[in-house]
Symmetry: C2
Amino acid sequence: MTLDLEQINAADAARFVEWLAGTYEHSPWIAERAARLRPFASLVQLKLALARVVREADREEQLGLIRAHPELAGKAMAGGTLTAESTHEQSRAGLTDCTPAELEKIRRLNADYAARFGFPFILAVRGPRGLGLSKAEIIATFERRLHNHPDFERAECLRNIHRIAEIRLDDKFGHVPALGNRVWDWAERLSTNSDPGYAERGELTVTYLTDAHRACAQRLAHWMKSDCGFDEVEIDAVGNVVGVYHGLDRSAKRLLTGSHYDTVRNGGKYDGRLGILVPMACVRELHAQGRRLPYGIEVVGFAEEEGQRYAAAFLGSGALTGHFDPAWLDQTDADGISMREAMVHAGLCIADIPKLARDAARYLGFVEVHIEQGPVLGEIDLPLGIVTSINGSVRYRGEIVGMASHAGTTPMDRRRDAAAAAAELLLFVEQRAAAVPHLVGTVGMLEVPSGSINVVPGRCLFSLDIRATTDAVRDACAADVRAELERICERRGLSHKLEETVRAAAAPSAAAWQARWERAVAALGLPLHRMPSGAGHDAMKLHEIMPQAMLFVRGLNAGISHNPLEAITNDDAELCVQAFQNLLDQLAMEPA
Amino acid sequence: MTLDLEQINAADAARFVEWLAGTYEHSPWIAERAARLRPFASLVQLKLALARVVREADREEQLGLIRAHPELAGKAMAGGTLTAESTHEQSRAGLTDCTPAELEKIRRLNADYAARFGFPFILAVRGPRGLGLSKAEIIATFERRLHNHPDFERAECLRNIHRIAEIRLDDKFGHVPALGNRVWDWAERLSTNSDPGYAERGELTVTYLTDAHRACAQRLAHWMKSDCGFDEVEIDAVGNVVGVYHGLDRSAKRLLTGSHYDTVRNGGKYDGRLGILVPMACVRELHAQGRRLPYGIEVVGFAEEEGQRYAAAFLGSGALTGHFDPAWLDQTDADGISMREAMVHAGLCIADIPKLARDAARYLGFVEVHIEQGPVLGEIDLPLGIVTSINGSVRYRGEIVGMASHAGTTPMDRRRDAAAAAAELLLFVEQRAAAVPHLVGTVGMLEVPSGSINVVPGRCLFSLDIRATTDAVRDACAADVRAELERICERRGLSHKLEETVRAAAAPSAAAWQARWERAVAALGLPLHRMPSGAGHDAMKLHEIMPQAMLFVRGLNAGISHNPLEAITNDDAELCVQAFQNLLDQLAMEPA
C-alpha cells in the first residue's frame, strides 16, 4: 500500500509503527517515539521527526541502531540478518553479485572498519539521486571513510541511515522528487564538460572562457531556451548566460537571481550551478503551466566568480554592478594568454561590457540559492538554511623569517625558529576567533620551505583568512592578530611580512527578502535555521546595488565543497525548488 | 715597528693604547679598558680581552663602535672618515675601484641597510683567510645580511669588527698563522671537486663514491704521502683514506683520529674535512722536524658519514668498528645504482671489508676535531670548545589527519584542524626541551600538503628531532612529546601517525681524553668552554669500541653548517692545530 499523511496522522501508535516498519533497520523504538510528534504537515516533517528521535536518543541507542545494520555485502557472509529492504538495495548496487576478488576486498574492509570503529560500515547505497551507487563508488567511499575520526564516522553512519530511511519513505509514500531530480540531472550533465588536464582524470574544472566553460554556457543557454521556455536568452559580453521570463507586462520590474557556473580546480558540481538550475526549474514549471507572474524573472549564470584563471573574482556579477575593471583585460593566465585575448577568442564584445551594468530601479531585488559548503545543516539534519548575512572577509599571505640553524647544535634559547612563531600565531588566531560567535579565522597554508628534519626553521610561510558577519568584528580580529604577530616576532627576534590579498565587506541580508525565504521554508513544514554565510557569493556583489538574500541547501559528506565529494540529494533539491516557488508566489501576491 | 707580548705587557697604559691605535676604529676606550686586563700570555689572549671589553660594554658604546666605521666603499662618497687601515683594506678588496654601476648598487645597499638598522654595514673585507674577499663576495654578503634580524645583525657587525681587529693585530705583531693557512688552503683545494649538477653551480656536494668523492680520496692520500710524510697511506675497502705515521716503535699503540670527507648536498668545506686536515698538518710538522713520538698516529678520512647517496650513515667509521652491514650493498641510489655496483666501479674489494674492523687494544683512543656547526662559540667570542658528550638523538616523521573543510563556512567549534594540532605539538616540544639544559627538540619540517588559503587544514606533515646529552633525558622528552600528541589529537578529534626513523645513543667523552683537550686549550691561553655536541659525528661510532673525545672550532656566520656559508678563519684553524699538537705532546710525555 502507498501511505499518505492523513492516514499516518490519524492512525493509532501501533499501526503507525507497523506502517513504518523497515524504515529504520530493526529499530521500532524510533517510530514509537516519533508517533508522539504527530501530526506531520508534510513528508519532510515526518523525516525530520524520525531524525530528531535518533539525534535525541542516547549514545548506546544510536550505536544499537548502527549495529542493527548488516555489514556491506553481508548477506553473502553473515546470512539471515538482512531486512527485505537491505537485500533489495544491496542487490540493486550489484553487491550480491561480486567477484571473489571484490568480495575479498569488501571482507577486508569490513574487518578493518569493525576493528577501528566497533560497528558496521553504513552507506545509503541508493545514493543521493536514489538510483544506486556503482560498486566502484561504494568501495571508494568505504576506503575513504575508514580514515575518518570515530566520532565523525558515527555521525556519518547516522546520516546515511537517515538517507536510507528517506528513500524508503519516499517509496512508501509514492513520493517522486521530480523537480529535484531534474535539477540534480542537469548538474550531472553540466559536470561532463571540464578543462583539459582535469577532464582526463574525471575531475571537474571549469575556468573562465575555456572550451569547457563555453560549452557550459552553451548548454545552459540551450536548456533555458528550449527546455524551460525563457523568453529571452543571451550570452552577454563577459560570458554570463542571461535568461529572462517576462512578467504579465514585459516592462514590469524583474526579480534578479542566479549564481556562477565556473568552478574551482577539481571542484564540485553544485557550488554556484545549483543557484542557476533551481530558478530554471521554477521557470520551466511556470512555462509548462502557461503561467505569467506580475513581475519578470531574470536568471543569470555568472561566468566567473572563483578567480581561478585570472585574479578577477566576481567578474560576472561585477559586470552587472558596473564594477568590471578594464585593467583586468591585460591580466594573463598561466599560459600567458591575456583576458582580452581570451574574450576575443570567445567572440565576446568587450566594448559592450559597460552596457551590462544594471539599473537597480528596474529590479525587485536579488536572491541566490547556494549549497551550504559547510557542515552545519548536515549536523542538525536540516535540508535548508536561511542566510542572515554574507560574512565580510580579509585575507593575508604572511612570511616569518628567523634563522635556519642546526637542530642538534643550536640551544633552545638561541633559536630564531620561524615555524614556532607561526605555530603561536595559528593558535592565537584559533582562540581569538573561537571567542566570538560567527567569527572564523584560518591558517590554511603553512609551510617551512625546503625544511629539513635536522634544521631549525629559518622561514615559514602561512596564509590567514578571517571572516565575520560584520566588518567591525572582522577588523577587530585582524587588528589583534596583526598585533600578536608583531609581539611574537619581537619577543622571538624574528622579522615578518604580512600582505593583504583580499578584502570584502559583509553583506547582511535585506530584512524583507530574508523574511520571504523564511516564510517559504516554513511553508514546507521545515523549522527555520538562520545562519551567516562564511563563503563569499555573487549576492555580495549585487548587494552593492540592490537588496539581496540567500537560501542554503545542505551538502552531503559533512558539507565538503571545492572538492569532488561535494553533493546534495534529489530530495533536498526538490525542497529547494519548492521553497523558490513559494518565494515567487509570495512576491506575486504582494501589492505592486 | 712590530709589537711583541713582552712589550705590551710592560708598557704603561697610554703607550699600550697608542700601540693598539687603529685596531678598533676610532674607539680608544677599548684598548684603555683592555690595558687593565694585562698581562697577556698569548696574542689570542689579547684578542679575547679586547672582544670581552666590547661584549661587556653597554649597548650605546657598542653602537658607537659600529657607527665609528665608514660605510662600505664610503671613501668615494662620504670622504675623510676612513682610517689608514680602512682605506688600505677597502682598496685591497677593489672597493676604491668600482664601476659606476657597482657604486650605485653599493650606494643603494648602504642606504637600505642604514634605513633598516641605523648603523653602517661592517664586513671584515680581508675575509676568513686574510687575503681579501672579492667585490662579488662582498656585495653578496651585503645583500644577504640586509635580511638579518637587527639584534643578530648588530652582533654580526661586532664579530666582523673583532675579525678586522684580529687581522690588524696579526699585522702589528707580525703573526702569520702558517699552520692555519695550510689547513684552510687544503680545505679550499679539496672543495674544488664536487658532484655533477652541483659543481656547475659552484656548490659543494661530495657523496659516496662519485667521481668527485674518489678525487677527494686521491687528493687526501697524495697530500698525506707526498706533502706530510705519512709512512703508510691507503684507500681501504670502503674508501676510507688511512694514513699512518709510525711511532718510535712501529708496533707501538696508535692514536686514532680523523673525520669524514663526504658532504651533504650543497654543504660546507669544513664539516668533517677539518678533522682530517688538522692532524695531517700536525704530522707534517712532526715529519719536517724528523720527530717520532712514542706512539703511532693513524689519521682516517672517513668515506661516508652523511648518509646522502645511500641510507647508510657512518659507513666509513662503522667499517672500523665492525658494523658494516652487508645488507647495505643492495641499497640503490636515486639512479638505481646499487652500493655494490658503486664499490666495484671504484675498484674497492668488498670481500676485505670485514678486515677493516679495528682491534681496540692496539689503540690509545680516538680524538676528533670538528667545526662546531652551531652559534655558541661565535656568540661568546671563543675559537675552541671542549666537547663533553655527543648527544643521543631520536627522529620521527609524523602526520596528523583531521578534516579539510571550508574556511569560511566551518564554525571554529566544528573544525578538525590538523595544522592547529601540529602547532600545539611544536610549541610543546619547544617548551619541554627548553626546560632542560642541553636538551633540544625541533620540528624542522612542517607542511599542510596542498593547503589553500580558504581551506581548514585536513592534513599536516611534520618531523621531530630530539637530542640530549644522555639517552634517558632524550627518551623522557620523546615519551612526553608522544603522550602530548595523543592528548592533542584525542581532544581535537584527530588521528595521527608517528614513525621513528633514527635512534642513536649518546656518547659521553672519555674523561681522560676530555682532560687532555682541556689542558691543550688552556695551554694556548684560552678559557675553557665545555659543551655537548648536538650533531652526530664519527666519534659516536668509535665510541662503541674505544675512548673518544672531541674538540670544536668556531664557525663563522653564526655557526651555520650544511650550507655554503659554513666557514672558519685561518687564525682559528691555527689555534686548533696548536691544540692538537699540544695533545700529541701531552700523550708523548705520559708514562706508557
